[in-house]
Every structure is written in C-alpha cells, then in structure tokens.
Symmetry: D2
Subunit: 347 residues, 4 copies
C-alpha cells in the first residue's frame, strides 16, 4: 500500500486519476492540491466522486506531499518543473502528466512552450512513460514523463512499422481526431457545447506542441530521422482519440495485409493494454471509452501501396491518467493491470 498525492487535481486528468486510483487496492490517496479550491471538498468540484473520495483540496504548499510515495502532477505545462526538484530530493517519486519532462531537446521544448525550462538537468533523467517501449526504465524511474494523448495513440500505431523498417519515413501522416476533453476543463468560448458540438474542425495546422514529442518517439523507434505531417481535429464528443495514420510502403519493399497483421499482433502480443483487432475489424473510440486500452487495426491499401493504421484510445485514460497509473504499477512492482481493469462504458 502506497501513499499517493495529486498536484493540481481540478481538471479532467485529475478527476480520472481520482476515479481510477479510488479503485486501486494498493493506493491510498492522501492529498490533492489546488490553489483555488483549497479547503473545498473534492466531491463539490467532481460530483461523480461523492462518497468515493472524502478529502478536501489542500493548498499546494502542504507538507503532506513530502510524505507521499508518489506524487502525480496534473498541472498545466511549465508548472511541475518548479517544484519537482524539491519533491525528488525528499525521496518522492514523481509522475508528471504535463509536458515539462517529455522532450529531451531543451531548446525545442523552450521554443514550443515559450518559457525557460527551470530544471533542464532533470529532463535527461526523466523516463518517458510509454510502457510499450520503455518498461524496464520505467521500473526504476524516479521522475516519469507521461506521454501526451496524441503521442500515445500515434506512436503505438506507427511503432511496428518503423521498428520493422517497412515504410517511407519521410512521408508519414497522422490525421487525429480528439474529443473535446482534450482541451481540458477551461472555460473558453470555443469549447462551449454550443460552439463545439455538431461540428468538426482541424486546428494547429501550422504547428502543434505534441508534434516534437511524437517525432522524438518515432525517431527513437526508427533509429533514423522521420518526417510527419500531423493534423489534429476537434471532434464533437467528450472523450476519445482516433488517429488515422498513413504511411507509404518503403520503395522496393513488398508487404501484404497478412504480414502486417502478424507484425502488429506479434509486437503487442504481451501488452496488456494494446489490443490489435482481428483482421477486418476497425476500432471506434466507443470501444475504449473509460478504459485504458488502445485498440489498433492495420490495413494495406493495395491500389496506392499505402498502409493505414487506426489507433483508438480514451485520451483521458490510456492518453493520460490510466497510462500514468500503468507506469506507477510498474514503478512499484504491482501487477500492471492493477486498478485498470475498468471495462469501457457502452453504450
């Protein structure tokens, strides 16, 4: 049984951490901080937790954090980096769900997040928390950088193709569709029901903060440079990401649908949360709503010699809170599925 704290737990990542940790029999949530809501019972902010989480929010300077075995940061970007060093020194293991420690190239990070990094030395020590590529390192991590929602869906979809050197790495395309919860619980006009429902639109065409993180991961897998066109879309639903990935087959290579299916199945055969669908089945985000699964299909379009991968996850679970807990389980030696056996809600 470990003690866990959450910093900045008032957004959608926070409520998902709480929902999932409340059902984790090896974790006691001892503290949840919020500058604005300090003193307010958590259930007032998250009515679904009423009767399940009896804490009130604490102020961020609470000494309870230092007594935790693990602390999750569910803060906006450029917040965690200011207090992570102190927590680490106190022997607390840190799982950061924000972007502060995801990108190894500090200059690149600073360019995208438009601020100076407060502890660049720690970035090198941070472990990228994608269990499907990094399980061993995660086990020993003191500081874990949980991947973003788009990067998770897109990397898991491209990995088998890159690792097997099957595709033209210079012409990858990721057309990703995200539910509105990806924008967080912030009161902005564009995410009002009246603005965001009954419509779909692309955004970030001129550049998106997740792009360098995705490319970093793809290059690691490929062991070579990769060029990716990434277009995210705001989709009229609460949860879910569907990434439709396009990759031209490498010139000279020959692939078949059967071979691709086998490669994907083999790559993820022992992964508890990556589900390669049987040939001919395609994922929908509803299959994984509320669950920690990433459902993947791979298709070969013969006419254009193009591989199409569909990768569906719940952006708040496998794309955030669930993935963080999966890594926590690895870090503390629990069975990886502990607390994550939640079945997708359907309908």
């Amino acid at each position: 049984m470990i003690k866990a704290g959450i910093i900045g737990g008032t957004g959608y990542t926070g409520v998902e951490l709480l929902r999932l940790l409340a059902g984790h029999d090896q974790v006691e949530i001892t503290v949840v901080t919020s500058r604005e809501l300090a003193g307010t019972p958590i259930y007032k902010h998250f009515p679904n937790l009423r009767g399940h989480i009896d804490l009130a929010f604490s102020a961020p300077d609470t000494p309870l954090l230092a007594e935790c075995d693990v602390v999750f940061y569910a803060t906006p970007h450029a917040v965690a980096m200011h207090t992570v060093p102190a927590l680490l020194e106190q022997g607390v293991r840190v799982i950061d769900l924000s972007a502060d420690f995801r990108i190894q190239d500090i200059a690149l990070w600073e360019q995208w997040y438009k601020t100076t990094h407060a502890c660049p030395d720690l970035v090198a020590k941070a472990v990228y928390g994608l269990p499907e590529v990094n399980r061993a390192a995660i086990a020993d991590a003191q500081l874990l950088a949980v991947p973003g929602c788009y990067p998770t869906a897109i990397q898991l979809g491209f990995l088998p193709l890159l690792e097997n050197d099957l595709i033209d790495r210079q012409h990858l395309i990721a057309d990703a569709k995200s539910g509105v919860s990806g924008a967080g619980r912030k009161a902005a006009e564009e995410f009002l029901l009246c603005e965001a429902s009954e419509s779909i639109r692309a955004y970030g065409v001129s550049g998106h903060r997740h792009h360098p993180e995705i490319c970093q991961g793809l290059m690691r897998a490929a062991g070579a440079p990769v060029k990716l066109t990434f277009i995210p879309h705001l989709t009229p639903m609460i949860r879910g990401i569907l990434a439709t990935l396009y990759a031209p087959v490498k010139p000279g290579a020959e692939v078949t649908a059967e071979q691709l299916q086998s490669i994907f199945e083999a790559r993820y055969a022992t992964e508890p949360f990556v589900d390669v669908l049987p040939a001919g089945e395609l994922p929908a985000t509803r299959m994984v709503k509320g669950s920690n699964k990433c459902a993947i299909s791979v298709s070969y379009i013969e006419d254009t010699d193009t591989i199409v991968v569909l990768s569906a996850e719940d952006n708040l679970v496998k794309g955030a809170a669930g993935q963080a807990i999966q890594s926590m389980n690895i870090m503390f030696g629990y069975a990886e599925k502990t607390g994550l056996q939640v079945i997708a809600l359907s309908p």
Copy 2:
C-alpha cells in the same frame, strides 16, 4: 462463487449486466443466450467486452442454464414468463429484468402488455426487487422482478413523502427525462442519431406501461390510493433518467425545507445506493453515469406550497442491471456493494 447465466443478452441491459458482472469477484458468467447470435463471440456484438468476456452466445435451449445458480432475463416483455417456471423447478433462482412479474394485478398487466400471462400464479410469488423497500423479501426470493427504470427513480423520490403522509396523494406529477438507451438497442427510425439528437420531446402522454407499476409501488408506500400524472420525455443523451417530481403539500400540513431534508436523509441514511444531496445541491444525470447510484434532492417551493424532488439515476444501472446485481448480492448473502463500486464516468 456462483454461476450466472443471462438470457437474451444482446441489448443494453445485457451489456451492462456483463460489464458489471465481469468485475464481480463472486460471480462466474457461464452462459449468455441469444437466438439470433448463437455461436457469435460476445465481443463481436459488444466490442467494449473484448478481452473481458471470452464466451460466445449460446442458443436459448442450452442445458447450461439449468446449471446456473442464478439466471438473469434481459429479454423483451412477455418472453421470460414462458421459461421461468421450468428454471425455477430446476432450482435456479431467477432475476427478471423485464416486466413480466412486476405487476401483481394480472388483468392490469394483460391490458398493458396486450397478451395473456403464461404463469399468473408465479406473479404472486415474485418479489419486487427494489432493495430500498423490500430487502428482507429479496433475500429469500426465488423469482425476482427488477423494477423498471422510470419506476425506480420515481418511487425513490416519492417514498419519503408518502411514507410520512406529507402530500396530497391525488395530485402527484412525475415529469421524467430519459436518455435514448431507455428505448433499447432496436433499429427504429425515431432513435437514430439524426432523429433523436438535438431535440427533446414527450411521449406516452396518453399512457405508458410503467405507469401502473409506479402507482402500485406508490400505493404500497402510502397505504392508500394515489393519483399520478406521469409524462416521460426522450432526451438527447445516451444514458440517464432525471425525474422531476411535484407534490402539493397535504392541505393543513406544514412543512419546511429543513424538515424535508431531514426526512429524506433519515429515510436513506443506510442505503448504499441512494444519495440524498446536501441542501441546496441538485442532481444531474452526469453525476451517476455508469454508477449504481440514485442521487436525490428535495426542495420546498413556498410560494406554491409545493415539494419538488429531483431524482437522477443511470437508467441502465440503478434503473436495470445494477439494481439487479444489488438484489442478487442480497439473495446470495454477498455484501450489497460487491461489484457495484463503479464510479460514475465524468466528464
């Protein structure tokens, strides 16, 4: 550990039973029947269950049913009554989620369901599975009639008022709003996304099958005749029922908001799945999405001397599958919350 079977498990009640029972550590699901889908893996029909339920659908005449400790009927109305007697004779306990055994007045039932009841004698032996009024009888039940979704929300809201004789029983109004899943998984034009989203409408104004069931329960609570106007509404969301209940204060009686709050809190103080909200808070169906809770508020409108009760539940959980499992737990001596600690999904 008991063996459970489900008859007719291809609809929304079926998938909810499976989702919840899969997480119940005292239940093994041994058989799920479907005439049309016999032989098909269950996950093909319910992709959210992939990796969680490895069975295929069985034909309805499977001998596996007789080996169960308990069998759930998730069939349309007027189906269960034909095979329940045989199962009971074989010593299987039956939990019927359809309407076949809910109404004690056989003539009334036959009038509403437009058919002759196949085993009227069993109706008298059936126990009405609303734990909040019938816990002791449920424990011994061989045949349980699980309440409908509207009847659950409406009865739980009115019970404290009727039991305390506070209201004019001749002028009750229940204005209920249900998500579209209440109509079941049937391919009818009116429930298409294009027809049912972005719109709200009343239906069944000239009469609804749940009306006699609700009145039967309210009269039992009141020990006297009750007159109820019940208007259900199709609401553009997947899950949830919100019942807005109006009751004039009994002529001559005096009530206060504080007194009503106390009465409701006392009535449900030990109920694990009825949550009387603190004074001033109002329920939303999102608070209970996917959970077995019924969240209730009570308000007193001084200007019109009227009591307004708001009662919110997930129609597929507390209004169907969750309630059935709650009773199953009682029947088999398990802790009542076993398998039902699921936290509402939010957002």
Copy 3:
C-alpha cells in the same frame, strides 16, 4: 426599406437577428455595435455570416444608431435602460430583447436584477412584445420589450386555458427544458461541451428571473392571481425549449380532449407562428429548430383530471430574435411573416 441597428450583437441573440434580418427584404442593417470587438469584421466572430453581412462591429457610441429607424438591444440585462431614453428622444424606435422593460412592477424587477432601474418611467410606456396577446399595442410601440424565451413558450401554452377559465389557477406547473444556447455565449465551465452534454439537470429551483415575467403574463390573461411552480432544466442540445405544462382542471368544471383541442385551435387559428398540432400529435423541439414557430399540443389526462400542454419553440427564434422581428414587422406595417418564413432545419 428601413435602417436597423443592433446594440451588443456578439451573442447568440445577435447572430440570430443578423441571420434573419439578412434575409428580410425591407431591412437594411446599418450598424452593429460591440464594445470589445469594435473594428472587427462581423464574420470573424460569426463565420456563418461570411459573405452575407459585410459590416464590422462599431463602438457603442457610434452616431449611426441615431440614424436608424429601429434599434435592437441584444445586450445583457441592465444595459439597455441606460441608453434607451436617448435613442427614443432621437425618434428611434427601440426593440429591447433584454429584460429591462419586461416587468411592470419596478420593485419586483429591482429585486430580481439586483440593481436600481435607470428609467422606471419608461417601463410603463414599454409594450410587451408578444404579438399573440398584444398585436394592436405593438403596432404603435416606440419601445418594445421582447418576452424571454421561457415566458413565450409557457404563456402561449397556458393562455387558452386561463382565458377560458378552465383550470385551477393556484396549482400551475411549468417543467421547462432548454437547450444550452439559452445560457448565452459566455465562457463558463458549466456550459462546456464536456460538462453540459450527455446530462440533464434542473436549475433555478429556488427561483428564476423569468418567473415574475411569466406570472405577470398569466395573470393578465386570467384577470386574476395565478400561482406557478416553474422548474427550468438544462438540456444537452444547442437550441430549443420544450415546456411541459400541467394544470388541474378547475374544480367543478368538466372538460374533454375534443373541447380542449377546439379551444386551442380557435385561439390560435389566425396566428402565423403558433401551430396547434392535430389531436394526438406531440411537438418535439426539432420541428421548430431555426424557425419562428411555437408548436403546441394539448392533452387531457382523465385519470388525474389534469391538462397537459406541450409547447415547443426555438429559444433563439420565437424565444428571442424571431419574435423581435415579428413585432418589428407589425410596428412598421410589413406583412407579419416577412423574413420569418424560414423552415426548421431537419435533420
């Protein structure tokens, strides 16, 4: 051809006025003001108007307003009252879509809107712009108070019953369901897609600003005091109000469904925008999405001697902008349907 201006045209009422007036062949829109967006092309804020409205927003102090024949206020409450007097003095006719001139009882208004009225003398001169009760007065109005969205749906539903003295006026209930656009285009957490979709909830149970306006109208129709319980609900859709109205038949009176149907049909026989549905048909808000119609059904529940009226409108059209234009047509002698023949969008 008249010149029309709009003050505060950046919300949903504003965009509807512009959509409808752009199709009105007797109106030239010459000015639309916005303090915050002065100088910005209107289409940047309302992309649906691109190519249809070529103006930019003007600052509120623009002299163009005084040159208008009519000015619409689409401002929040307690704004119009500060500048309406000056416009009237300049001979401009004013149509106020806010609440400033709706309630004749100044003290009551000040209690609900928590401010001192800036021009109480003008309230008495303001004409309440519900054509179905006030057509003659509207024709001559210099200052028009357009009814709120809830008041329109609820008054039109109750009027025939009150005017014919058929119901117990002390026990009226209006259970109203509104789409989220009723909350306006304001960036508040509770109206985010992630918060407001897939859920329904009541609000304002302890009192709502539209209650005194509704009662004022009902009492005018009844010529006697009226008591109304009014519970509004936030419904997961963009547009539409459905008001479910309950009225006990007056003690001693006898009514029949046929008689009620005839009374409603007769009352609205010549009304261009009130559609009494044939007996047995019930309205849905989708029938009137984007149109200026209010669709009404009346039912008699014999069992409880209660009349149930269903009244559906588009809150932004018949409940706001369309109704304002309908009155404008009357004020300027145009055919009442001019510019309002828009057919509801379906699906």
Copy 4:
C-alpha cells in the same frame, strides 16, 4: 415558374430538397412520390415542413411526374435508371441525386453497385452536375448526375492543385469526416444515437463506392492518372463533411503558402458557393450547416513539403440537395443563387 417533382422523397435528401425548393420563388413542387407513404401528408413524415408543403406523397406511377419540367430522383442507388428513360422521352429534365449516372465506366459502376446497369447508353449523355467544373454543359443537360457528398468536398479541394500540376498525383490522401445523416434515414443499429454518438470511427477502409467517382473527377481535372487513398469516418454529428486532404508537392516544384492561397482564390473567385477562407483561417462544418457553401482553406507544411487542404460542406446541401438546385438554376436560366441564399444556422 417551373413545375418540379421529387421521386423517393422520404429520406434526408428529400426533405432538404423540399426545404430549399419551398423557398425558391421560381419553382412549384407539384408531386412527391413514395411507394410506402403514398397518401400520407408529407408533413407527417417531415414535421418541419408542416405549414410549408401541403402535399401528400403520391404513388410512384403518378401521371403528375410527366407534367413536370424537372424531376429530382432522391432514390437509393439502382432505382432511377429504371424510369429515367421514360421521363426523358416525355420531355422531362431529370436531376438524379443517386449514383446511377455518375460513373462513365459502366463496368466499374456495375462492379461497385453489384447490378447490371439498365440504361448504359444514357450514362454517356448524362452531365456530371458539379457547376465549378461543368457549368456550360449543365445548362443544356437533359439528364444530370449530381455528385456525391464526399466527391464534392474532395474534388473542390484538390482541383486547383491538380489543374496547376503542383502535386505528386500518385500519393493523394483524403481523410474525410461525415455526419451521420450521410448514411441516410435508415433504421440500422449502427446509426442509433446510442451507437453513433460519443464516438468516431473509420469505415470503408477496404473500399468505398465514392472512390471511383472521386478519382474520375480528379483525373479529368489532372488530365492524367491519379492515385488516391480515401478513408471516410463516421463523425458524431448530424450534418457536415470535413475533408482533410494531403498532397505531397510535386518533386522539383516549389510552392509557397502565399502562392497556394492566390491559386485557390483565383480558381474560385467567381464561384458563388465556394468560399476560400483568408490565409490563416480554417473551416469548421458549423460554418456551413444548412447552407450551400463549401468552405476551403489551403496550408503549406514546409517541414514535410506537403499541402493540406481543408474542405467543409453540409453533406445534405452542397453535398446533395443544394447542389442539385444550383444546377437546376443553371439548367433553367435562373440566377444561380436563387433559393440558395440560406445562411448557415449557428449556433
């Protein structure tokens, strides 16, 4: 003033034709046929048309069709081809919104639609009704094949690039997102609100009937072979298509964002219903909901030397009924915008 008839007007294309034609001052709708609903007032099936269209459905063999100047087919595929020849012989001009006359290669058509074409000779005489490429031919057409919804959005997006020979024609990608109304008004489980809302999924990955039609149009524009990967997605909204188009810049060519913007603006400068957005603005389907516009943006992704075009339309208007009426206006010499000035409904 011309007389218009609609064959098979009971689906979403039918109701849109009726909504738009009812507001067209040069058209009298004289007959709407439906085998199943013959004799039923149209408004009973389409309540939004109540008070606007007073006809009842006629049986398909009605002699009224032959008296029309123009007849629209809003039938499923492989229906029109059986009766179009007779109508043409009677001098009626035909506008077919189904796929029967869209594909010039009869063998290809027969392969996709799995039936023998009933009048292959007429296919060669049919004019493809995309005004932006075919205006002159449309004017003289006796038989018009209205493009499908996906083909319209995708062709309009790629045309300027192909006509200017800027892209690698062998590696085009169209990732298209369609609202559920694209599936028509058919009672199928997968399009129920409970199945299709709150989820997004791809379909037709192994092949879609619109693919050959799209390629035929792209090749015509390019004057050369074209290879396209086309993946459609079912998006949880009623209306709208957003096509995200990816094209690698032609090897050796150099393009700039400014140049692309100019090319698109020039290509569609005089088109009344194609709106090239200003540089930096991106379309959303809500901008065009209910209107006949196609809103397009073009972006150049320097990092990957890829052009991304976003093309948004209402699938039922510019993607079906509105486009048909636009061509009808051209055929009968009316101003092209007649009856199509409808502004998108927003919010």
